[in-house]
């Protein structure tokens, strides 16, 4: 392989400034919304005592899951020794940090007492999956930061491989922890499954790579740097494999539930008669988020088109957000069963499907998290050498003639 030259992006064009301005505005709106929510209480959101986690968690969990997935490209290079992926590694690590930063910001600002975030950092209950995650989040930041350092500083480049291994192990633990936040909820019909941990890992592969590929294509296009088909084709084929793997895990998850009579109610709710959740599952997650991207990525005639690939990446992201909405909110909308075999009713909405409609502030907070991730990545590309000057086939492809 040729020597790869990494360069900062110039970051002076009007396009760059407009992008930053849009992201900055969205981030400010998100922060303003968080302040509004803190002042007035969560009564200004759509969240209730029935749907306790809402759209902010949809964005936050999506971003955190995607963060660990975005690091995959780097891991394939450092852990699995595929030299083809090594030039792609720095951007992969930057995206991982950006996405996690955005996700955690949302999670933190949605707390009932965001002013007490220091309490979360100083008081630990070591039996809590959430507390484990606090360590995993900070461990992930640390591991990826060290990894980036070993990639950028020639004097410590011999440590790149162990740093890559460390980051890989932490990213697997991180997604296991995120999936287990739901998997360990023993009382809820739609969670309570160890399968959620591996499912979240494979989902992270898919979401993270879709974001990676989208950002890679956009940044090379907007900076007029060459990006050859070799890189694109390999990544888009890999994305297809990940999408199919998510479909497999989702199928197993629902089949397992369908086999257990006690889960028939919640499965019927998600798959058949859950209104918005059923629509988001079939249309958002399965058709638009999985099947259409598979066609776009693999169908002869279409799959070479960069626009089709970029569109597929966008659909995978939307499908991922749908999947999070169905999992997090759909799982809570179905009423908790306290007395199996009985019809329940109460003033606290027992036995009825719970309503949720996201309000503007909480939606802006979620979008703000996305924007913060975008700002971290955009500024990172400008100040440090994350992107190779060229990823043309002659540079990136070891088989290029």
């Amino acid at each position: 392989m040729k020597i790869i030259n990494y360069r900062e992006i110039e970051g002076r064009s009007s396009g760059f400034l407009i992008l930053l301005a849009i992201l900055g505005l969205l981030a400010l709106l998100g922060l303003g919304s968080a302040h509004y929510m803190e002042e007035h209480g969560h009564v200004v959101t759509g969240m209730t005592n029935q749907i306790v986690w809402g759209i902010p968690h949809v964005f936050a969990v999506f971003l955190i899951v995607a963060a660990s997935g975005a690091l995959n490209v780097a891991s394939i290079g450092s852990v699995f020794g595929k030299s083809f992926y090594k030039p792609l590694a720095p951007l992969s690590a930057l995206l991982a940090i950006g996405l996690l930063g955005g996700g955690l910001t949302v999670l933190m600002l949605d707390l009932g007492r965001p002013d007490r975030v220091i309490v979360a950092a100083t008081h630990y209950n070591f039996k809590s999956v959430f507390a484990w995650n606090v360590f995993l989040y900070s461990g992930f930041f640390g591991a990826v930061a060290i990894y980036i350092w070993t990639m950028m500083d020639k004097t410590v480049s011999s440590y790149t491989k162990p740093a890559g291994y460390l980051a890989f192990v932490v990213r697997l633990l991180l997604t296991t922890g995120t999936g287990s936040i739901f998997g360990f909820l023993v009382a809820r019909q739609f969670y309570d499954s160890a399968l959620l941990a591996p499912m979240f890992i494979i989902m992270s592969f898919s979401y993270g790579l879709a974001i990676y590929l989208g950002v890679l294509m956009a940044s090379y296009k907007w900076t007029n740097r060459p990006l050859g088909d070799a890189v694109i084709n390999r990544l888009k084929n890999l994305l297809g494999v990940f999408i199919a793997a998510v479909l497999l895990l989702v199928t197993i998850f629902h089949m397992t539930n369908l086999y257990f009579t006690k889960h028939h109610g919640v499965e019927a709710f998600i798959l058949l008669n859950g209104g918005i959740y059923t629509s988001l599952f079939w249309l958002g997650q399965i058709i638009l988020g999985s099947l259409v991207p598979l066609v776009l990525l693999y169908a002869p005639g279409i799959s070479k088109s960069r626009s089709a690939i970029a569109f597929a990446c966008g659909l995978v992201i939307l499908g991922g957000l749908s999947q999070m909405y169905v999992t997090i909110i759909g799982g809570q909308a179905y009423p908790l069963v306290l007395f199996p075999g009985y019809q329940e009713s109460s003033s606290f909405f027992d036995g009825v499907v719970h309503n949720y409609s996201p309000s503007l502030p909480e939606t802006l907070l979620g979008l703000g998290g996305m924007a913060i991730a975008g700002i971290i990545v955009t500024l990172g590309l400008k100040v440090l050498r994350f992107l190779p000057l060229s990823l043309a086939d002659s540079v990136a492809d070891p088989h290029a003639k």
């Binding site: 209480g41 009932g112 309490v119 979360a120 959430f130 306290l338 109460s346």
Partner: protein, 253 residues
């Protein structure tokens, strides 16, 4: 006199007076009923400087056969005692609620109050990242208002939907029951009353109404009324499959 300005002697004197009143009430309650039968187990007041002990495990026995559909005296008493605004919005706190049940096979209906079940193995305590959700030595599950960050993970974990999140600013609080916007809360088993040797407000209201569907007492004391009843009668734990060993038992469901 302001509570904070009392001297130690005055506090002790006050406490002795309360203890005397509590004991008198207990004697009165015992005398009022036929010898050997005590309807209410009077909790013994614990000195303020003494920590809660695992020698006690406070619990409730609820007889749904005696609990009338439409009666919500226990709910009103709880709201009044804990200064909870009586509202039925989806964002309003409800520490206790009446659940109406209908057997889907037989059509038989029953009614019962549902609140924090004060589990011996509480999932809310397991999942709380900061340790704000905790179980006192005497089995009462509480939230430490000072370290609750309002993440609501405990609400996701509770099998009984027993917890509420305070969605808006609160006014007119009961100083004995501090609450706070942005924190999670639930039935405290009227810990402020229990520590004074009194009954939880819901239990008191239920017996005042003459229904006597709720018994409060020490599950660790084999001679307590609640322990005797549980030893004699078939009782149910809600979601017994989870093996959380709740401190609240039900009869008649």
């Amino acid at each position: 006199m302001n509570e904070q300005n009392k001297t130690a002697e005055q506090v002790i004197e006050d406490y002795s007076r309360r203890k005397f009143l509590g004991t008198s009430a207990a004697v009165g309650a015992t005398l009022a009923i036929a010898p050997g039968i005590t309807l209410l187990d009077m909790a013994q007041a614990r000195p303020a400087d003494q920590a809660a002990s695992s020698k006690n495990r406070w619990g409730l026995l609820i007889d749904s056969n005696k609990c009338a559909t439409g009666c919500d005296d226990c709910v009103s008493a709880c709201f009044k005692e804990n200064a909870i605004k009586e509202g039925k919005k989806e964002t309003d706190s409800q520490w206790i609620r009446k659940i109406e049940l209908k057997d889907m096979q037989s059509g038989r209906t029953s009614s019962l109050p549902m609140m924090c079940q004060h589990c011996a193995e509480p999932p809310c305590v397991d999942v709380c990242p900061t340790g704000a959700s905790f179980k006192r030595a005497d089995g009462i599950v509480l939230v430490d208002r000072h370290i609750c960050i309002g993440c609501r993970y405990c609400m996701m974990a509770c099998p009984y939907k027993a917890r509420s999140f305070v969605h808006e600013e609160l006014t007119d609080q009961n100083p004995d029951v501090p609450r706070g916007k942005g924190c999670v809360e639930s039935c405290t088993l009227c810990v402020h009353r229990v520590d004074k040797g009194e009954q939880p407000a819901c239990v008191e209201a239920c017996s005042s109404s003459g229904k006597n569907a709720m018994i409060f007492g020490d599950l660790n004391d084999p001679n307590s009324e609640i322990s005797k009843r549980i030893a004699e009668t078939a009782t149910t734990q809600v979601r017994a499959d989870l093996q959380l060993n709740p401190g609240v038992r039900y009869q008649g469901i």
